[in-house]
Structure formats: structure tokens, C-alpha cells
Symmetry: C2
């Protein structure tokens, strides 16, 4: 049986996960692929570090060229993270005609187009199923199974850390800060949680999903991004009372060649399939013009789920080993970038919570201001009569963001309004 040698760049959680999955299931892989698979070199930054997995003599190395310059290594798996070093090594691997598998969404969001072009030119495969939603085969499904559809909408819970935090806040009524601390203690959030809680990670993944789903080049910078730091138990209680659940959603839509791309906390109806996705689980909801609504649910991170996707890519590359296979995925990261709507032009419903002095006429005055700006209201809740400052909550019908922003600008000036406490977008089912 021919032996396929693999070089790993990075040996953290996912790298060791790949090692474990190969160890666990290698007999099945051999039966299925007709090859043996061997991880022959692993790039690390510290040879002496304590690790769960301890590869044999001579496998760990601190010199990338021991992988990139080794002609016996056919597949390079990049799991080191970051963008600068990763880009340099992946590019070199492709130039050396090695197939590359990566789980690095930041790398892809920044350099995906360029690296895909290099892979095409060199006739090798460049694959990245693990980069979005870990073990959930969402990219493959969009690219292969749903090709008969024009994708109209993608809505994903693609960041497990923020979903864990929001689930905890919803269940236990705790503050964002406390839920974050708990997530950090449990290893769900990093010491610097910015990439997760400020929505960068989700925005990178949305850029990838949209690039493949809408067949468009995407400039990651143009994805609107808002994190979950402003979420409060008060807003979550109002959501509950109004029949909603709060999720950090990555939302992409395309209509008439114009895309909407945005990541922000979102109220969704309790009956929506995404509403039941809790803790660190991920899910991606896709709407196609033939298939209708689909949802893919599973673990979006972790050693084995992510390794499942990485190893799936490796096996897929192996299945084309001795064949002239079609250049895969030539439609990824299309050159043509479709237009992206500005947030002013997007339409959703809105939840807006004002803090107001409970004086006569304030509700009427605010409600009238919405009306004057053409924003119609679907619900109003006023609570806590008699206190110095009480919440006054509105849910609008679907309307342009521009109109809502303008309305709020005006209401903010009212004497009775002490604070515009939160604005959260509301996505309805249809």
C-alpha cells in the first residue's frame, strides 16, 4: 500500500486532534482510501513543551523547511493560526506542489483568493472545510450538494464562545462579564477574548461562507461587525418576554446582485431552529431557491470535531490521488466582488430600549417620533412605574436602518430620555 506523508504546521489542540483521529481510525482509512497515512513531521515552536501527544523520535521540528523542502511530504496541514507566518508557509507549500489543508479562517478571509489561485496554477488542492464551524460539513455542502440552488440567505451561529456566553446569560441571568469569566475558566474563551466577543471570528467565517455561497470575492473589511459586550440581563429578559432568544448571528443575504453581510447580536423567534442551538454548539441555516430552508448543527470547535474536517479533506485529496481530477473549487473566491449594501440600506426589525424619566407624555412623544420618520411599531413595553429612570422598549416592523438611526438621533435629545440603552436587530422567519 502506498504511503501518503503528511506534514503538520502547528501541534496545538487541533493538531493533536488530527494525530488522535488518525490513530483511532487509521485501519478504516486504509481500507477506504487504499493508502496508509503517516504524519512524518510536525512544526512546533517549542520542542520541549509538555503535550498530551508525544510523537516519536525526530518528528517534531522547529524548522519549517524540514516540511516545506521535503519532497516526500505530499500534504501540508496548516494549524498554526495567525496570518503572516501561515501565509508564507502555505504559499511555499503550494509552490512546492504540495496539497494544503488549513483550518485558518483569518488566513482565508485575507488571502484565500490569492492562495486558491496559486493552488490552481500548481495543480494541487487547497482545502479548508475545518475553517468554518469545525466538524460541520457546511462549506462542502454549499459547494457540492447545494450547487443546484441560488443561495439567498445564510444565517449562522458560528462562534461557540459567544454562544456559550449568551446561553449562560439567558439561563442564569448573569452579567456578560461573569459569563465571560466562566467561559475563560472552562477554556471556551481565551485570555484576550476580543476575536470572539467582538465578532471578528464570526466575521471571518461569514466572509468565507458568503464568498462560497454567493460566489463573490469578499473584502473582509466590508463585513459589518458588532460584538456581544453590550448585552445585558435586562435586554435578555425583554427578549424572553417578547418571544425571542438572543444569538450572535453571522448573516449573509443576496438579492439582485447586492449582498448584505453583517455580524451582530440578534433577536430571533423562539420557534426558529437556530433558537435551540445552545452552549458551545454551532449551526448554520441556509436558504436556497430550490431546497428551501436547511440547517446544519454540530460542534464548531474542539480537537476531534475540527480534526474530523481536516482529516475529511485529507481523505478527499487521497481519493483523487491517481486520477486527473478536476481542479477543485475553481469557483471559490471569485474575482468579481458583488456590491455590498451599506448598513443604512439594510432592513430588519429593531428592538430599542430607552431609559426614560417616567413623566407624562413621554411615551406618546417618542412613539410619534417613530411615526414621523416612517417607522412603524409592533410592540411597546413600559415597566417600573415611578422610579427615576425606567426602561421603555420598542420593537419596530421591518424598516431601513437609516430611518431607525435618524429616529433615535432625535429621541436621544429629549429631556425625558436619559439613555439609549441598546439597539438590537430582530430577524423574523420569512
Amino acid at each position: 500500500m502506498e504511503n501518503i506523508k503528511i506534514g503538520l504546521l502547528g501541534f496545538g489542540t487541533v493538531g493533536q486532534g488530527v494525530w488522535k483521529v488518525l490513530e483511532k481510525n487509521h485501519i478504516a482509512f486504509e481500507n477506504q482510501a487504499g493508502f496508509t497515512f503517516e504524519i512524518s513531521k510536525v512544526l512546533v515552536s517549542d520542542l520541549g513543551k509538555e503535550r498530551e501527544i508525544n510523537p516519536g523520535e525526530g518528528i517534531l521540528t522547529m524548522d519549517p523547511d524540514e516540511i516545506l523542502e521535503d519532497d516526500s511530504i505530499h500534504i501540508v496541514v496548516e494549524l498554526m493560526g495567525g496570518t503572516d507566518g501561515a501565509k508564507k508557509y502555505v504559499e511555499k507549500a503550494l509552490e512546492k506542489k504540495k496539497h494544503v489543508v488549513t483550518a485558518n479562517k483569518a488566513l482565508l478571509a485575507l488571502y484565500g483568493k490569492e492562495l486558491t489561485a496559486t493552488a490552481l496554477k500548481k495543480g494541487v488542492q487547497f482545502r479548508y472545510e475545518a475553517s468554518v464551524a469545525g466538524g460541520i460539513p457546511i462549506l462542502h455542502s454549499i459547494r457540492e450538494s447545494l450547487t443546484a440552488n441560488r443561495i439567498k440567505r445564510i444565517m449562522g451561529i458560528v462562534n461557540g464562545t459567544t454562544n456559550y456566553i449568551l446561553t449562560k446569560m439567558s439561563r442564569e441571568g448573569v452579567l456578560f462579564e461573569d459569563a465571560l469569566e466562566e467561559a475563560q475558566r472552562k477554556g471556551y474563551a481565551e485570555a484576550d477574548p476580543t476575536a470572539d466577543v467582538d465578532g471578528y471570528d464570526a466575521a471571518h467565517k461569514l466572509a468565507l461562507l458568503a464568498a462560497l455561497g454567493f460566489k463573490s470575492g469578499i473584502d473582509f473589511q466590508q463585513v459589518y461587525r458588532e460584538g456581544i459586550r453590550k448585552m445585558t440581563p435586562t435586554d435578555i429578559e425583554f427578549a424572553e418576554e417578547l418571544g425571542f432568544v438572543v444569538k450572535l448571528l453571522a448573516i449573509g443575504m443576496e438579492e439582485d446582485g447586492k449582498m448584505e453581510l453583517r455580524v451582530h447580536p440578534t433577536f430571533i423567534e423562539k420557534e426558529h431552529p437556530l433558537a435551540a442551538v445552545n452552549d458551545a454548539f454551532n449551526a448554520v441555516f441556509v436558504e436556497g431557491n430550490a431546497v428551501g430552508e436547511l440547517m446544519f448543527y454540530g460542534k464548531g470547535a474542539g480537537d476531534l470535531p475540527t480534526a474530523s474536517a481536516v482529516m475529511g479533506d485529507i481523505l478527499s485529496i487521497a481519493s483523487h490521488w491517481n486520477h486527473s481530477s478536476p481542479p477543485s473549487y475553481q469557483l471559490d473566491f471569485s474575482e468579481t466582488g458583488k456590491n455590498i449594501k451599506s448598513m443604512d440600506e439594510t432592513q430588519t426589525a429593531y428592538y430599542i430600549r430607552f431609559m426614560v424619566k417616567d413623566s407624562p407624555g413621554v411615551l406618546g412623544k417618542i412613539a410619534s417620533t417613530f411615526g414621523e420618520n416612517g417607522v412603524s411599531l409592533s410592540s411597546v413595553i413600559q415597566k417600573g412605574v415611578g422610579e427615576t429612570s425606567v426602561p421603555l422598549v420598542f420593537i419596530t416592523h421591518r424598516t431601513k436602518e437609516k430611518a431607525v438611526k435618524k429616529t433615535i438621533q432625535q429621541i436621544r435629545e429629549f429631556d425625558a430620555v436619559t439613555e439609549v440603552a441598546n439597539l438590537i436587530r430582530v430577524e423574523t422567519l420569512s
Copy 2:
């Protein structure tokens, strides 16, 4: 641009759906595949029948050979249903070196192995994504994306008709017969509902899922099958009270080379992702030894969703048109059939509802009988004191079916027991 000619066998809902999807999205298909696609012949049993879609002059035919003997037709799509005629035509198409796409699960459950062998021999593709769960790309995902996993468990809501009926019974407390009638009125159930409500359709789909997931030949006859005719509002109320939802599940498991394959009404915990799958939606829950738990959710039937899967298969065939592609799916329908456990050996928890005369000591006597047979109980509910016959409900811990059957046999003989009203298996999350 080269033109790929397609022949359809059958022009019912799904056939017309394929026509519509091709009409809707053909420009995208051409851009993507580099081919034009043309449905050049359609086999029907009645030329004059009123149809939503009216193909042009000379396309409809009642002679299968106008498709099967036409060398200009490269892809045959079988959507006629049934098994005898379909088998004959599909076989002939493959012999004539035409690629075949089908949505016919009964055909596959009975002749899948044989037809796959013919396709392999002739070097053509035989694809059937649409046969299970309509537009949900579950077969493709099991076969391509989850190859790095040993699949441990598959649990699916794969029949929309029964899910619609059970959802209606749960929401409105109506009888099975009334919910069925409503489903028939709405076109979700056929005049003869046997295939759906007695679980045949689900069992066919389970045979397919298990064949691919567990890489085993499956004799469809060995799938245990129990439909939903015995479900009553009383049992559904008890489910609700005990924290469960009732679904018709198709369950496949493999451990140590032994499979469990069964279709039956099942209590699942309200928190399980499958519990939120309502109305005519389908979902398949898969557990792999690397990826953990995944779920795929969407429309399992209907013209466009099913056509989405059919057209996806056609596009995938086209993507290998001018390449020596690997013989696809050679692992499907493996020759080796793994052992299937008898129902006596399977283990689940059980819900059992007896109707008893409310006399002193009856609860104690029944509970003792469970104990004597080594069956331990997790919940007991007794209701409606003083009436002539009252329900007495037990939930057991996980135990072998054999022990439960034996216990019930004994309890059935007690004078105070007027009826063993229902036995429903209970699947817990882990």
C-alpha cells in the same frame, strides 16, 4: 458549450420540480459547469394528462426506449417510483452506459447493491442523494465529509407525513385518525397511507443510511419496523408531562461490528435537537467518533427540495465529465453484511402504559414484577383515582427488550390489569 441531454422517467411532482429548477437556475448551471443542460425526453404513462408544466412538442413519450435507446441522452433520471419497472429501466440505462440519478428509496433498499455493481462495471455513475430526506445533503455528507469518522449512531426523522401527524396530535390533542385525515386533505399523506404511517418508507431510508454509514450490506427485511397507528392523545400527554416529545425515529447504531436497525415511535427528551423538528420537516442526527454529534435539518420532500438534490447529482456528474474520475462511491452497499441484533437484545428505556382497576396493591404488585425481572424503574405515574380503569404509567431505565417483554407478559395476566395499552421506546441523549 457542449449540451448534456437528460431523459426523465416520470413527470410527477419531483419530475416537474427538476424541470422548474433547471428553468430557474440554468444560467448559473451553465456558468458553473461549462455545459448546457436539456431535458430532451420525458417518459409518462399518460400523454394527455393535465400538468402544471407543459414541455414542448415531442418531449413527452410513453415509450421508455425513446430514452433508453437514444444514444444522445447521457443522463437518465428515474422518478417514476415503484420497484419492478424502475429496476428494469435503470438497469437498462446503466447497461447502455448512461449515468443514472434516482430518488427511489424502495428501489435502492431492494436492488441498490446490484445496480451499484452494474454502474461500476460500466464505468458510469449511479447517484441517489434525493432518496433520503429530500433536499438535505445527508448521504453526500456521510459519504464524503464524514469519512474521517466511524459512525456510531444515526437517528432520523425521515418521514414528513408521520412527523406532520405527530406534530398535529401533540399540538392539538387530536386522535391519530383525525390528524391523518387532515394530512390527506393537505396532500401530505396519500389515500393509502400504509407506506408512511406503518414505517415502510422510514425503514427503506434507514436501510440506505445504515448501508452507507456503517459500510455494510443491509437486508431491508431485517429492519425492525413499527408505525404510529397506535399513538393516542393519552400517550402524548404523558410524554409531555414526563419531559418528552414523540417522534417516529429511524435509528441505526453500530458497536463492535453489530448493528441495531429499528423504526418505531420514540420518546425523546425535549432538549434534544430532534425534538424541535416539527411539521413535515425532516432531520438526521449523526454521531461520529471524531465529529461528535451533528444534525442536518430541512425539507424532506416536495417538488423543489427533492429536485435540488436530483439536480445536485446531475451537476456533480457534469463536473467529472471530461475527467477520468474515480469510480464514485465504490464503498456503497458493501458485500459484507454486518450482524444485526435481534430486538430482544437491543437496549433502550421504555414507556409502558397499563390500564388497571384501581384496587389496593396493584401498583406494588406490578412494580415488584418489574424488579423480579431485573428491570429498574425511573418514573411512575398513576392517575384518575376511583374510575373503573385508570392509566398506570412506567418509565424504565435502560434495559434489554427481552426482559421488558417478559415482564409485560407476566403483568398482562394480573386480574387488575385490563390492558397493556402501549409500549414506546425512550431514547436518551447519551
